[in-house]
Protein backbone atom coordinates (compact mmCIF):
# COMPACT_ATOMS: atom_id res chain seq x y z
CA UNK A 1 0.00 0.00 0.00
CA UNK A 2 2.88 2.28 0.87
CA UNK A 3 4.28 1.56 -2.56
CA UNK A 4 1.10 2.75 -4.21
CA UNK A 5 0.88 5.86 -2.11
CA UNK A 6 4.47 6.77 -2.96
CA UNK A 7 3.88 6.23 -6.65
CA UNK A 8 0.71 8.29 -6.53
CA UNK A 9 2.85 11.32 -5.66
CA UNK A 10 4.19 11.30 -9.18
CA UNK A 11 1.71 13.07 -11.47
CA UNK A 12 2.65 10.85 -14.36
CA UNK A 13 1.75 7.76 -12.45
CA UNK A 14 -1.46 9.35 -11.24
CA UNK A 15 -2.65 10.17 -14.74
CA UNK A 16 -1.45 7.06 -16.46
CA UNK A 17 -2.84 4.78 -13.81
CA UNK A 18 -6.19 6.53 -13.89
CA UNK A 19 -6.39 6.42 -17.66
CA UNK A 20 -5.34 2.80 -17.78
CA UNK A 21 -7.89 1.91 -15.14
CA UNK A 22 -10.45 3.70 -17.19
CA UNK A 23 -9.41 1.79 -20.28
CA UNK A 24 -9.53 -1.50 -18.41
CA UNK A 25 -13.03 -0.79 -17.20
CA UNK A 26 -13.91 0.18 -20.72
CA UNK A 27 -12.47 -3.08 -21.97
CA UNK A 28 -14.32 -5.12 -19.39
CA UNK A 29 -17.59 -3.68 -20.62
CA UNK A 30 -17.08 -5.96 -23.58
CA UNK A 31 -18.39 -8.79 -21.45
CA UNK A 32 -21.68 -6.99 -21.22
CA UNK A 33 -21.92 -6.15 -24.87
CA UNK A 34 -25.41 -6.63 -26.26
CA UNK A 35 -23.92 -7.24 -29.68
CA UNK A 36 -21.53 -9.81 -31.06
CA UNK A 37 -18.78 -7.75 -32.68
CA UNK A 38 -18.19 -10.21 -35.49
CA UNK A 39 -21.76 -9.94 -36.74
CA UNK A 40 -22.55 -7.33 -39.31
CA UNK A 41 -25.75 -5.37 -39.81
CA UNK A 42 -26.85 -5.49 -36.24
CA UNK A 43 -27.64 -1.81 -36.17
CA UNK A 44 -28.40 0.97 -38.66
CA UNK A 45 -25.29 2.03 -40.58
CA UNK A 46 -23.21 5.19 -40.50
CA UNK A 47 -24.97 7.05 -37.76
CA UNK A 48 -23.06 9.71 -35.84
CA UNK A 49 -22.78 9.50 -32.05
CA UNK A 50 -26.10 9.81 -30.25
CA UNK A 51 -27.81 8.88 -27.05
CA UNK A 52 -28.65 5.48 -28.40
CA UNK A 53 -25.36 4.69 -30.12
CA UNK A 54 -22.75 6.42 -27.96
CA UNK A 55 -19.98 6.45 -30.47
CA UNK A 56 -22.10 6.08 -33.54
CA UNK A 57 -22.19 3.18 -35.94
CA UNK A 58 -20.05 2.10 -38.86
CA UNK A 59 -20.66 1.04 -42.44
CA UNK A 60 -20.92 -2.61 -41.61
CA UNK A 61 -23.78 -1.94 -39.27
CA UNK A 62 -21.77 -2.40 -36.09
CA UNK A 63 -22.06 -0.27 -32.99
CA UNK A 64 -18.72 1.44 -32.54
CA UNK A 65 -18.89 1.83 -28.78
CA UNK A 66 -19.31 -1.84 -28.07
CA UNK A 67 -16.91 -2.74 -30.83
CA UNK A 68 -14.20 -0.62 -29.33
CA UNK A 69 -14.58 -2.25 -25.93
CA UNK A 70 -13.58 -5.48 -27.63
CA UNK A 71 -10.88 -3.71 -29.57
CA UNK A 72 -9.17 -2.36 -26.50
CA UNK A 73 -9.52 -5.67 -24.71
CA UNK A 74 -8.00 -7.65 -27.53
CA UNK A 75 -5.17 -5.27 -28.25
CA UNK A 76 -4.17 -5.32 -24.62
CA UNK A 77 -4.37 -9.11 -24.53
CA UNK A 78 -2.02 -9.36 -27.49
CA UNK A 79 0.32 -6.88 -25.88
CA UNK A 80 0.31 -8.73 -22.56
CA UNK A 81 1.03 -12.05 -24.16
CA UNK A 82 3.80 -10.57 -26.26
CA UNK A 83 5.27 -8.83 -23.26
CA UNK A 84 5.11 -11.66 -20.78
CA UNK A 85 6.25 -14.42 -23.10
CA UNK A 86 9.18 -12.33 -24.29
CA UNK A 87 10.21 -11.66 -20.67
CA UNK A 88 10.09 -15.37 -20.01
CA UNK A 89 12.72 -15.78 -22.70
CA UNK A 90 14.79 -12.66 -22.07
CA UNK A 91 15.35 -12.89 -18.34
CA UNK A 92 16.77 -16.42 -18.13
CA UNK A 93 18.90 -15.82 -21.23
CA UNK A 94 20.28 -12.60 -19.80
CA UNK A 95 20.88 -14.03 -16.34
CA UNK A 96 22.67 -17.10 -17.60
CA UNK A 97 24.72 -15.25 -20.19
CA UNK A 98 25.70 -12.53 -17.74
CA UNK A 99 26.60 -14.75 -14.84
CA UNK A 100 28.30 -17.61 -16.62
CA UNK A 101 30.23 -15.58 -19.11
CA UNK A 102 32.66 -17.32 -21.41
CA UNK A 103 31.37 -19.47 -24.24
CA UNK A 104 27.83 -19.75 -22.84
CA UNK A 105 27.62 -15.98 -22.98
CA UNK A 106 28.96 -15.82 -26.51
CA UNK A 107 26.57 -18.46 -27.83
CA UNK A 108 23.52 -16.89 -26.23
CA UNK A 109 24.42 -13.42 -27.40
CA UNK A 110 25.02 -14.74 -30.88
CA UNK A 111 21.51 -16.13 -30.96
CA UNK A 112 20.11 -12.94 -29.53
CA UNK A 113 21.97 -10.76 -32.01
CA UNK A 114 20.76 -12.93 -34.86
CA UNK A 115 17.20 -12.17 -33.92
CA UNK A 116 18.06 -8.50 -33.87
CA UNK A 117 19.48 -8.29 -37.35
CA UNK A 118 16.74 -10.26 -39.05
CA UNK A 119 14.61 -7.82 -41.04
CA UNK A 120 11.72 -7.97 -38.66
CA UNK A 121 9.03 -6.52 -40.76
CA UNK A 122 9.57 -8.66 -43.83
CA UNK A 123 9.61 -11.85 -41.81
CA UNK A 124 6.51 -10.84 -39.93
CA UNK A 125 4.70 -10.03 -43.12
CA UNK A 126 5.68 -13.37 -44.55
CA UNK A 127 4.70 -15.31 -41.46
CA UNK A 128 1.39 -13.59 -41.00
CA UNK A 129 0.50 -14.26 -44.60
CA UNK A 130 1.25 -17.91 -44.09
CA UNK A 131 -0.66 -18.43 -40.88
CA UNK A 132 -3.35 -15.84 -41.38
CA UNK A 133 -6.27 -18.15 -41.17
CA UNK A 134 -5.12 -19.88 -38.07
CA UNK A 135 -4.08 -16.65 -36.44
CA UNK A 136 -5.74 -15.64 -33.26
CA UNK A 137 -4.79 -13.32 -30.44
CA UNK A 138 -2.57 -15.85 -28.77
CA UNK A 139 -0.58 -16.84 -31.80
CA UNK A 140 -0.11 -13.22 -32.75
CA UNK A 141 1.10 -12.47 -29.25
CA UNK A 142 3.60 -15.31 -29.28
CA UNK A 143 4.83 -14.33 -32.71
CA UNK A 144 5.49 -10.82 -31.55
CA UNK A 145 7.16 -12.14 -28.41
CA UNK A 146 9.62 -14.15 -30.47
CA UNK A 147 10.79 -10.97 -32.08
CA UNK A 148 10.62 -8.80 -29.02
CA UNK A 149 12.95 -10.54 -26.61
CA UNK A 150 16.32 -10.03 -28.19
CA UNK A 151 16.96 -6.35 -27.66
CA UNK A 152 16.39 -6.35 -23.96
CA UNK A 153 18.51 -9.44 -23.40
CA UNK A 154 21.63 -7.37 -23.85
CA UNK A 155 20.33 -4.64 -21.60
CA UNK A 156 19.59 -6.98 -18.74
CA UNK A 157 22.77 -8.94 -19.34
CA UNK A 158 24.90 -5.84 -18.93
CA UNK A 159 23.21 -5.14 -15.61
CA UNK A 160 24.04 -8.68 -14.50
CA UNK A 161 27.64 -8.22 -15.59
CA UNK A 162 28.08 -5.24 -13.28
CA UNK A 163 26.30 -6.97 -10.43
CA UNK A 164 28.57 -9.97 -10.67
CA UNK A 165 31.56 -7.81 -9.77
CA UNK A 166 29.93 -6.17 -6.79
CA UNK A 167 31.18 -6.94 -3.31
CA UNK A 168 27.97 -8.52 -2.14
CA UNK A 169 28.41 -11.34 -4.63
CA UNK A 170 31.45 -12.39 -2.61
CA UNK A 171 29.59 -11.97 0.65
CA UNK A 172 26.84 -14.23 -0.62
CA UNK A 173 29.38 -16.84 -1.69
CA UNK A 174 31.02 -16.67 1.72
CA UNK A 175 27.60 -17.10 3.29
CA UNK A 176 27.33 -20.36 1.47
CA UNK A 177 24.63 -19.28 -0.99
CA UNK A 178 24.40 -21.23 -4.21
CA UNK A 179 24.34 -19.63 -7.63
CA UNK A 180 20.60 -19.87 -8.28
CA UNK A 181 19.58 -18.51 -4.89
CA UNK A 182 22.10 -15.74 -5.33
CA UNK A 183 20.64 -14.67 -8.64
CA UNK A 184 17.15 -14.63 -7.17
CA UNK A 185 17.91 -12.90 -3.91
CA UNK A 186 20.72 -10.58 -4.82
CA UNK A 187 20.26 -9.72 -8.44
CA UNK A 188 16.52 -9.71 -8.98
CA UNK A 189 15.92 -6.56 -6.92
CA UNK A 190 18.20 -4.75 -9.34
CA UNK A 191 16.84 -6.37 -12.44
CA UNK A 192 13.15 -6.12 -11.66
CA UNK A 193 12.78 -2.45 -12.61
CA UNK A 194 14.52 -3.16 -15.89
CA UNK A 195 12.27 -6.11 -16.55
CA UNK A 196 9.22 -4.08 -15.75
CA UNK A 197 10.21 -1.10 -17.85
CA UNK A 198 11.10 -3.26 -20.80
CA UNK A 199 7.87 -5.20 -20.38
CA UNK A 200 5.81 -2.09 -20.78
CA UNK A 201 7.93 -0.96 -23.69
CA UNK A 202 7.43 -4.27 -25.43
CA UNK A 203 3.72 -4.00 -24.83
CA UNK A 204 3.67 -0.58 -26.43
CA UNK A 205 5.71 -1.88 -29.32
CA UNK A 206 3.42 -4.88 -29.72
CA UNK A 207 0.31 -2.73 -29.88
CA UNK A 208 1.95 -0.52 -32.45
CA UNK A 209 3.09 -3.44 -34.54
CA UNK A 210 -0.33 -5.07 -34.38
CA UNK A 211 -1.92 -1.87 -35.60
CA UNK A 212 0.58 -1.67 -38.45
CA UNK A 213 0.02 -5.24 -39.52
CA UNK A 214 -3.72 -4.89 -39.30
CA UNK A 215 -3.87 -1.74 -41.32
CA UNK A 216 -2.02 -3.62 -44.00
CA UNK A 217 -4.60 -6.34 -43.74
CA UNK A 218 -2.19 -9.00 -42.61
CA UNK A 219 -3.89 -10.20 -39.49
CA UNK A 220 -7.14 -11.97 -38.88
CA UNK A 221 -9.48 -9.12 -39.68
CA UNK A 222 -12.51 -10.64 -38.04
CA UNK A 223 -11.08 -10.23 -34.59
CA UNK A 224 -11.82 -6.72 -33.37
CA UNK A 225 -8.66 -4.94 -32.33
CA UNK A 226 -7.60 -1.33 -32.52
CA UNK A 227 -5.72 -2.11 -35.65
CA UNK A 228 -8.49 -3.95 -37.42
CA UNK A 229 -10.93 -1.17 -36.60
CA UNK A 230 -8.67 1.28 -38.35
CA UNK A 231 -8.33 -1.12 -41.26
CA UNK A 232 -12.05 -1.36 -41.75
CA UNK A 233 -12.52 2.36 -41.35
CA UNK A 234 -9.93 3.01 -44.01
CA UNK A 235 -11.19 0.40 -46.40
CA UNK A 236 -14.69 1.88 -46.19
CA UNK A 237 -13.29 5.35 -46.86
CA UNK A 238 -14.50 6.67 -43.53
CA UNK A 239 -12.23 9.66 -43.72
CA UNK A 240 -13.43 10.76 -47.13
CA UNK A 241 -17.03 10.16 -46.29
CA UNK A 242 -16.76 12.21 -43.16
CA UNK A 243 -17.55 9.45 -40.66
CA UNK A 244 -15.05 10.91 -38.27
CA UNK A 245 -16.37 8.97 -35.29
CA UNK A 246 -15.33 5.74 -36.89
CA UNK A 247 -11.69 6.64 -37.46
CA UNK A 248 -11.32 8.88 -34.45
CA UNK A 249 -12.34 6.27 -31.87
CA UNK A 250 -9.53 3.75 -32.41
CA UNK A 251 -6.96 6.47 -33.00
CA UNK A 252 -7.81 8.36 -29.84
CA UNK A 253 -7.97 5.17 -27.81
CA UNK A 254 -4.57 4.12 -29.15
CA UNK A 255 -3.06 7.44 -28.25
CA UNK A 256 -4.38 7.20 -24.73
CA UNK A 257 -3.02 3.68 -24.48
CA UNK A 258 0.46 4.58 -25.72
CA UNK A 259 0.88 7.69 -23.65
CA UNK A 260 -0.36 6.15 -20.45
CA UNK A 261 1.76 3.04 -20.92
CA UNK A 262 4.78 5.22 -21.46
CA UNK A 263 4.10 7.36 -18.41
CA UNK A 264 3.44 4.29 -16.32
CA UNK A 265 6.70 2.76 -17.41
CA UNK A 266 8.70 5.88 -16.76
CA UNK A 267 7.22 6.63 -13.36
CA UNK A 268 7.48 3.07 -12.09
CA UNK A 269 11.01 2.53 -13.30
CA UNK A 270 12.16 5.79 -11.81
CA UNK A 271 10.63 4.69 -8.56
CA UNK A 272 12.15 1.23 -8.71
CA UNK A 273 15.53 2.47 -9.91
CA UNK A 274 18.06 1.21 -7.34
CA UNK A 275 19.61 4.63 -7.11
CA UNK A 276 16.45 6.31 -5.97
CA UNK A 277 15.48 3.30 -3.90
CA UNK A 278 18.70 3.47 -1.98
CA UNK A 279 17.91 7.03 -1.11
CA UNK A 280 14.48 6.11 0.13
CA UNK A 281 15.49 3.01 2.01
CA UNK A 282 15.77 3.39 5.75
CA UNK A 283 14.91 7.07 5.52
Amino acid sequence: MQLFKDLWQDYRFKWSFTILCGLMIFASLSFFSPYDPTLWHEVPRDLPPSAEYYLGTESRGIDIFWMSTFAVRNSVIVALIAGIVSRLITVPVALIAGYKGGSTDRVLMFISDSFLVIPLFLILVMLTLLVRDKMNLITLGILLALFGWAWDARVIRSEVLTLRERGFTYTAILSGTGTFRMAMNEYMPFITPLVFATLINVMSWAIGLEITLSILGLTNLDIPTLGTMIFWALSYQAVLLGYWWWIATPVVLSIFLFVSLYWLSVSISEYLDPRSRIQRVGA
Binding site: Q9, R280, A283
Partner: protein, 335 residues
Protein backbone atom coordinates in the same frame (compact mmCIF):
# COMPACT_ATOMS: atom_id res chain seq x y z
CA UNK B 1 50.76 37.92 11.89
CA UNK B 2 49.79 37.96 8.24
CA UNK B 3 46.78 39.67 6.74
CA UNK B 4 43.51 37.91 6.40
CA UNK B 5 42.76 36.62 2.94
CA UNK B 6 39.49 34.77 3.48
CA UNK B 7 37.04 35.06 6.31
CA UNK B 8 33.58 33.88 7.22
CA UNK B 9 31.13 35.44 9.61
CA UNK B 10 28.48 33.29 11.26
CA UNK B 11 28.28 31.20 8.14
CA UNK B 12 25.32 28.88 7.99
CA UNK B 13 24.68 26.70 4.98
CA UNK B 14 22.24 23.85 5.20
CA UNK B 15 21.07 21.21 2.76
CA UNK B 16 17.32 21.36 2.38
CA UNK B 17 16.10 18.04 1.02
CA UNK B 18 12.74 16.60 0.15
CA UNK B 19 12.54 12.92 0.80
CA UNK B 20 9.17 11.36 0.12
CA UNK B 21 7.25 14.52 0.71
CA UNK B 22 9.05 15.34 3.95
CA UNK B 23 11.52 18.11 4.35
CA UNK B 24 14.88 17.31 5.91
CA UNK B 25 17.42 19.92 6.88
CA UNK B 26 21.06 18.89 7.07
CA UNK B 27 22.91 21.42 9.18
CA UNK B 28 26.25 20.94 7.54
CA UNK B 29 27.80 24.33 8.26
CA UNK B 30 26.36 25.76 11.41
CA UNK B 31 27.63 29.20 12.45
CA UNK B 32 31.25 29.08 11.42
CA UNK B 33 33.67 31.93 11.92
CA UNK B 34 36.99 31.54 10.19
CA UNK B 35 39.91 33.82 9.67
CA UNK B 36 42.38 32.47 7.14
CA UNK B 37 45.59 34.33 6.49
CA UNK B 38 48.00 34.85 3.64
CA UNK B 39 51.00 32.56 3.18
CA UNK B 40 49.82 29.69 5.31
CA UNK B 41 48.54 26.16 5.04
CA UNK B 42 45.33 25.90 7.04
CA UNK B 43 44.15 22.40 7.81
CA UNK B 44 40.58 21.46 8.66
CA UNK B 45 40.24 18.13 10.45
CA UNK B 46 37.22 16.10 11.45
CA UNK B 47 35.45 12.78 10.91
CA UNK B 48 33.46 11.96 7.82
CA UNK B 49 30.06 13.57 7.97
CA UNK B 50 31.03 16.55 10.08
CA UNK B 51 30.39 18.98 7.25
CA UNK B 52 33.93 19.82 6.23
CA UNK B 53 33.38 19.18 2.53
CA UNK B 54 30.35 21.44 2.64
CA UNK B 55 32.39 24.10 4.39
CA UNK B 56 34.91 23.97 1.56
CA UNK B 57 32.17 24.31 -0.99
CA UNK B 58 30.92 27.37 0.80
CA UNK B 59 34.43 28.81 0.96
CA UNK B 60 34.79 28.29 -2.75
CA UNK B 61 31.42 30.01 -3.15
CA UNK B 62 29.89 26.97 -4.79
CA UNK B 63 26.60 27.14 -2.96
CA UNK B 64 24.07 25.45 -5.18
CA UNK B 65 20.75 23.78 -4.34
CA UNK B 66 20.07 21.64 -2.38
CA UNK B 67 22.73 23.51 -0.43
CA UNK B 68 21.41 26.87 0.66
CA UNK B 69 22.90 29.85 2.35
CA UNK B 70 20.86 30.41 5.47
CA UNK B 71 22.86 33.11 7.18
CA UNK B 72 26.25 34.78 7.33
CA UNK B 73 28.81 35.54 4.63
CA UNK B 74 32.07 34.51 3.09
CA UNK B 75 34.53 37.33 2.42
CA UNK B 76 37.47 37.32 0.05
CA UNK B 77 39.97 40.04 0.82
CA UNK B 78 41.14 41.00 -2.66
CA UNK B 79 43.56 43.87 -3.19
CA UNK B 80 42.63 45.42 0.11
CA UNK B 81 38.87 45.18 -0.56
CA UNK B 82 36.53 42.91 1.29
CA UNK B 83 34.15 41.17 -1.14
CA UNK B 84 31.16 39.18 0.02
CA UNK B 85 31.24 36.32 -2.46
CA UNK B 86 27.87 34.98 -1.45
CA UNK B 87 26.25 38.08 -2.82
CA UNK B 88 28.11 38.90 -6.01
CA UNK B 89 26.66 37.93 -9.39
CA UNK B 90 27.93 35.10 -11.57
CA UNK B 91 30.23 36.90 -13.97
CA UNK B 92 32.55 38.61 -11.49
CA UNK B 93 32.56 35.36 -9.50
CA UNK B 94 33.69 33.41 -12.53
CA UNK B 95 36.57 35.78 -12.99
CA UNK B 96 37.54 35.40 -9.39
CA UNK B 97 37.58 31.67 -9.70
CA UNK B 98 40.76 29.96 -10.76
CA UNK B 99 42.46 33.34 -10.72
CA UNK B 100 42.05 34.08 -7.08
CA UNK B 101 40.73 30.83 -5.66
CA UNK B 102 41.14 27.35 -7.00
CA UNK B 103 39.03 24.44 -5.77
CA UNK B 104 40.14 20.83 -5.94
CA UNK B 105 37.15 18.71 -4.95
CA UNK B 106 37.29 15.20 -3.53
CA UNK B 107 37.98 12.49 -6.02
CA UNK B 108 38.97 15.07 -8.57
CA UNK B 109 41.56 12.83 -10.06
CA UNK B 110 38.66 11.31 -11.89
CA UNK B 111 37.63 14.70 -13.21
CA UNK B 112 40.25 14.82 -15.91
CA UNK B 113 38.72 14.40 -19.34
CA UNK B 114 39.30 10.73 -20.13
CA UNK B 115 39.33 11.15 -23.89
CA UNK B 116 41.87 13.91 -24.01
CA UNK B 117 45.58 13.76 -23.50
CA UNK B 118 46.76 15.75 -20.52
CA UNK B 119 48.43 18.35 -22.63
CA UNK B 120 45.16 19.08 -24.39
CA UNK B 121 43.37 19.49 -21.08
CA UNK B 122 46.04 21.90 -19.94
CA UNK B 123 45.94 23.84 -23.16
CA UNK B 124 42.16 24.17 -23.01
CA UNK B 125 42.41 25.34 -19.49
CA UNK B 126 45.03 27.95 -20.17
CA UNK B 127 43.37 29.33 -23.25
CA UNK B 128 40.02 29.70 -21.54
CA UNK B 129 41.39 31.59 -18.60
CA UNK B 130 44.37 33.50 -19.91
CA UNK B 131 43.78 35.68 -22.93
CA UNK B 132 46.31 36.13 -25.68
CA UNK B 133 48.24 32.88 -25.54
CA UNK B 134 48.65 30.76 -28.60
CA UNK B 135 48.50 26.99 -28.36
CA UNK B 136 52.23 26.70 -28.50
CA UNK B 137 52.80 29.21 -25.75
CA UNK B 138 50.16 27.59 -23.58
CA UNK B 139 51.80 24.19 -24.00
CA UNK B 140 55.19 25.62 -23.13
CA UNK B 141 53.79 27.18 -20.00
CA UNK B 142 52.17 23.93 -18.97
CA UNK B 143 55.30 21.82 -19.49
CA UNK B 144 57.41 24.26 -17.59
CA UNK B 145 54.98 24.25 -14.74
CA UNK B 146 54.92 20.47 -14.54
CA UNK B 147 58.67 20.15 -14.51
CA UNK B 148 59.06 22.84 -11.88
CA UNK B 149 56.82 20.86 -9.61
CA UNK B 150 58.88 17.72 -9.96
CA UNK B 151 56.55 15.72 -12.18
CA UNK B 152 57.94 13.79 -15.14
CA UNK B 153 57.30 15.82 -18.34
CA UNK B 154 56.40 12.80 -20.45
CA UNK B 155 53.05 12.44 -18.70
CA UNK B 156 51.73 15.36 -20.73
CA UNK B 157 51.31 13.05 -23.69
CA UNK B 158 49.43 10.43 -21.74
CA UNK B 159 45.74 9.84 -21.26
CA UNK B 160 44.41 9.91 -17.71
CA UNK B 161 43.74 6.19 -17.56
CA UNK B 162 47.35 5.44 -18.27
CA UNK B 163 48.45 7.08 -15.06
CA UNK B 164 48.09 5.79 -11.54
CA UNK B 165 45.69 7.41 -9.08
CA UNK B 166 48.45 9.22 -7.30
CA UNK B 167 49.88 10.66 -10.46
CA UNK B 168 46.46 11.88 -11.56
CA UNK B 169 45.90 13.54 -8.24
CA UNK B 170 49.19 15.39 -8.51
CA UNK B 171 48.38 16.44 -12.04
CA UNK B 172 45.03 17.82 -10.90
CA UNK B 173 46.70 19.77 -8.14
CA UNK B 174 49.29 21.08 -10.57
CA UNK B 175 46.45 22.20 -12.82
CA UNK B 176 44.82 23.99 -9.93
CA UNK B 177 48.05 25.83 -9.20
CA UNK B 178 48.70 26.75 -12.81
CA UNK B 179 47.31 30.26 -12.69
CA UNK B 180 49.01 30.94 -9.39
CA UNK B 181 45.85 31.49 -7.39
CA UNK B 182 45.93 33.20 -4.03
CA UNK B 183 43.96 30.43 -2.41
CA UNK B 184 43.92 26.73 -3.18
CA UNK B 185 41.17 24.72 -1.53
CA UNK B 186 41.76 20.97 -1.48
CA UNK B 187 39.20 18.44 -0.25
CA UNK B 188 40.73 15.16 0.95
CA UNK B 189 43.49 15.11 -1.67
CA UNK B 190 45.16 12.07 -0.13
CA UNK B 191 42.26 9.72 0.48
CA UNK B 192 42.44 6.41 -1.33
CA UNK B 193 46.12 6.88 -2.08
CA UNK B 194 48.99 4.68 -1.00
CA UNK B 195 51.20 5.94 1.73
CA UNK B 196 54.24 6.76 -0.42
CA UNK B 197 52.14 8.44 -3.07
CA UNK B 198 50.29 10.32 -0.37
CA UNK B 199 53.57 11.71 0.77
CA UNK B 200 54.29 12.80 -2.80
CA UNK B 201 50.98 14.65 -3.04
CA UNK B 202 51.43 16.39 0.27
CA UNK B 203 54.98 17.37 -0.59
CA UNK B 204 53.72 18.79 -3.86
CA UNK B 205 51.26 20.96 -2.00
CA UNK B 206 54.00 22.18 0.28
CA UNK B 207 56.22 22.91 -2.69
CA UNK B 208 53.50 24.92 -4.37
CA UNK B 209 52.81 26.90 -1.25
CA UNK B 210 56.45 27.72 -0.73
CA UNK B 211 56.84 28.76 -4.32
CA UNK B 212 53.75 30.91 -4.62
CA UNK B 213 53.60 32.01 -1.00
CA UNK B 214 49.84 31.70 -1.17
CA UNK B 215 47.27 30.06 1.05
CA UNK B 216 46.22 26.44 0.97
CA UNK B 217 43.13 25.24 2.80
CA UNK B 218 43.38 21.50 3.23
CA UNK B 219 40.67 19.18 4.50
CA UNK B 220 41.38 15.64 5.65
CA UNK B 221 40.42 13.36 8.50
CA UNK B 222 44.00 12.17 8.92
CA UNK B 223 45.76 14.12 11.67
CA UNK B 224 49.06 12.66 10.54
CA UNK B 225 48.82 14.61 7.30
CA UNK B 226 48.01 17.80 9.15
CA UNK B 227 50.98 17.27 11.42
CA UNK B 228 53.23 17.09 8.39
CA UNK B 229 52.03 20.01 6.41
CA UNK B 230 49.63 22.41 8.14
CA UNK B 231 50.64 25.62 9.87
CA UNK B 232 47.36 26.03 11.69
CA UNK B 233 44.64 23.47 12.23
CA UNK B 234 40.90 23.90 12.77
CA UNK B 235 38.96 20.97 14.23
CA UNK B 236 35.40 20.62 13.02
CA UNK B 237 32.61 18.63 14.64
CA UNK B 238 28.96 18.34 13.61
CA UNK B 239 28.97 21.51 11.57
CA UNK B 240 30.85 23.71 14.00
CA UNK B 241 34.46 24.58 14.69
CA UNK B 242 35.49 23.32 18.11
CA UNK B 243 39.18 24.17 18.27
CA UNK B 244 41.76 26.09 16.30
CA UNK B 245 45.46 26.65 16.96
CA UNK B 246 48.89 26.44 15.35
CA UNK B 247 49.89 22.85 14.62
CA UNK B 248 52.43 22.50 17.38
CA UNK B 249 49.97 23.78 19.95
CA UNK B 250 47.20 21.46 18.81
CA UNK B 251 49.41 18.42 19.20
CA UNK B 252 51.07 19.45 22.43
CA UNK B 253 48.14 21.01 24.18
CA UNK B 254 44.86 19.89 22.73
CA UNK B 255 42.12 21.39 24.86
CA UNK B 256 38.92 19.99 23.42
CA UNK B 257 38.23 16.33 24.39
CA UNK B 258 37.42 15.55 20.78
CA UNK B 259 40.77 16.83 19.59
CA UNK B 260 42.47 14.76 22.24
CA UNK B 261 40.68 11.69 21.03
CA UNK B 262 41.53 12.41 17.41
CA UNK B 263 45.21 12.55 18.25
CA UNK B 264 45.32 9.65 20.68
CA UNK B 265 43.44 7.30 18.40
CA UNK B 266 46.29 7.19 15.91
CA UNK B 267 48.84 4.41 16.39
CA UNK B 268 52.44 5.42 17.00
CA UNK B 269 55.46 3.41 16.04
CA UNK B 270 57.31 1.80 18.86
CA UNK B 271 54.23 1.96 21.02
CA UNK B 272 52.01 -1.06 21.30
CA UNK B 273 49.96 0.12 24.26
CA UNK B 274 46.25 -0.33 23.63
CA UNK B 275 44.51 2.65 22.12
CA UNK B 276 40.88 3.50 21.60
CA UNK B 277 38.94 5.18 18.85
CA UNK B 278 36.51 7.92 19.62
CA UNK B 279 33.62 6.04 21.22
CA UNK B 280 30.17 6.05 19.65
CA UNK B 281 29.47 7.54 16.25
CA UNK B 282 29.15 11.05 14.86
CA UNK B 283 25.71 12.60 15.25
CA UNK B 284 23.38 12.89 12.32
CA UNK B 285 23.38 16.42 10.99
CA UNK B 286 19.62 16.33 10.62
CA UNK B 287 19.06 15.41 14.23
CA UNK B 288 21.67 17.11 16.37
CA UNK B 289 21.90 16.59 20.13
CA UNK B 290 20.96 19.47 22.40
CA UNK B 291 23.66 21.73 23.72
CA UNK B 292 27.18 20.76 22.74
CA UNK B 293 26.95 18.26 19.89
CA UNK B 294 29.81 16.20 21.30
CA UNK B 295 28.23 15.65 24.72
CA UNK B 296 26.90 12.09 24.12
CA UNK B 297 30.44 10.89 23.41
CA UNK B 298 32.38 13.09 25.80
CA UNK B 299 33.97 11.46 28.85
CA UNK B 300 33.93 14.75 30.74
CA UNK B 301 30.34 15.72 30.06
CA UNK B 302 28.70 18.07 32.55
CA UNK B 303 25.09 19.21 32.89
CA UNK B 304 25.66 22.49 31.12
CA UNK B 305 27.06 20.64 28.12
CA UNK B 306 23.71 19.02 27.57
CA UNK B 307 21.84 22.28 27.64
CA UNK B 308 23.87 25.02 26.05
CA UNK B 309 26.20 25.31 23.12
CA UNK B 310 29.61 26.53 24.25
CA UNK B 311 30.95 29.67 22.63
CA UNK B 312 33.86 29.43 20.21
CA UNK B 313 36.39 31.94 21.43
CA UNK B 314 40.00 32.65 22.25
CA UNK B 315 41.19 31.15 25.49
CA UNK B 316 44.76 32.14 24.69
CA UNK B 317 46.16 34.23 21.88
CA UNK B 318 45.94 32.15 18.70
CA UNK B 319 44.06 29.35 20.41
CA UNK B 320 40.28 29.11 20.11
CA UNK B 321 38.13 26.45 21.75
CA UNK B 322 34.39 25.81 22.12
CA UNK B 323 34.09 23.78 25.32
CA UNK B 324 32.48 24.26 28.70
CA UNK B 325 35.41 22.55 30.41
CA UNK B 326 37.69 25.30 29.29
CA UNK B 327 35.09 27.93 30.16
CA UNK B 328 34.93 26.61 33.65
CA UNK B 329 38.72 26.78 33.71
CA UNK B 330 38.83 23.15 34.64
CA UNK B 331 40.57 22.02 31.49
CA UNK B 332 43.26 20.42 33.60
CA UNK B 333 40.87 17.46 33.81
CA UNK B 334 40.73 17.04 30.07
CA UNK B 335 44.47 16.86 29.45
Amino acid sequence: MNNTILSTENLKTFYVLEVQGEQKVVKAVNEINLDIRENEIYGIAGESGCGKSTLLKALAAVIEPPLRLIDGSVFYHVDGKKIDVTQIPDEPMRRLRWDYVSYVPQGSMSALNPVKRLKDTYEDFISSHVAGKSRGEALQLARQHIVELGLPPQIMDAYPHQLSGGMRQRVTIALAALLEPQIIIADEPTTALDVVVQRGVVQLLREIQQRLENTIILVTHDMGIHANVADRIGIMYAGRMVEEAPTDTIFREPLHPYTQYLINSLPKFGDKTPRESVPGSPPSLTDLPTGCAFHPRCPFVMDICRQEIPEYKNVKPNHKVACWLVEEKSYGKAA
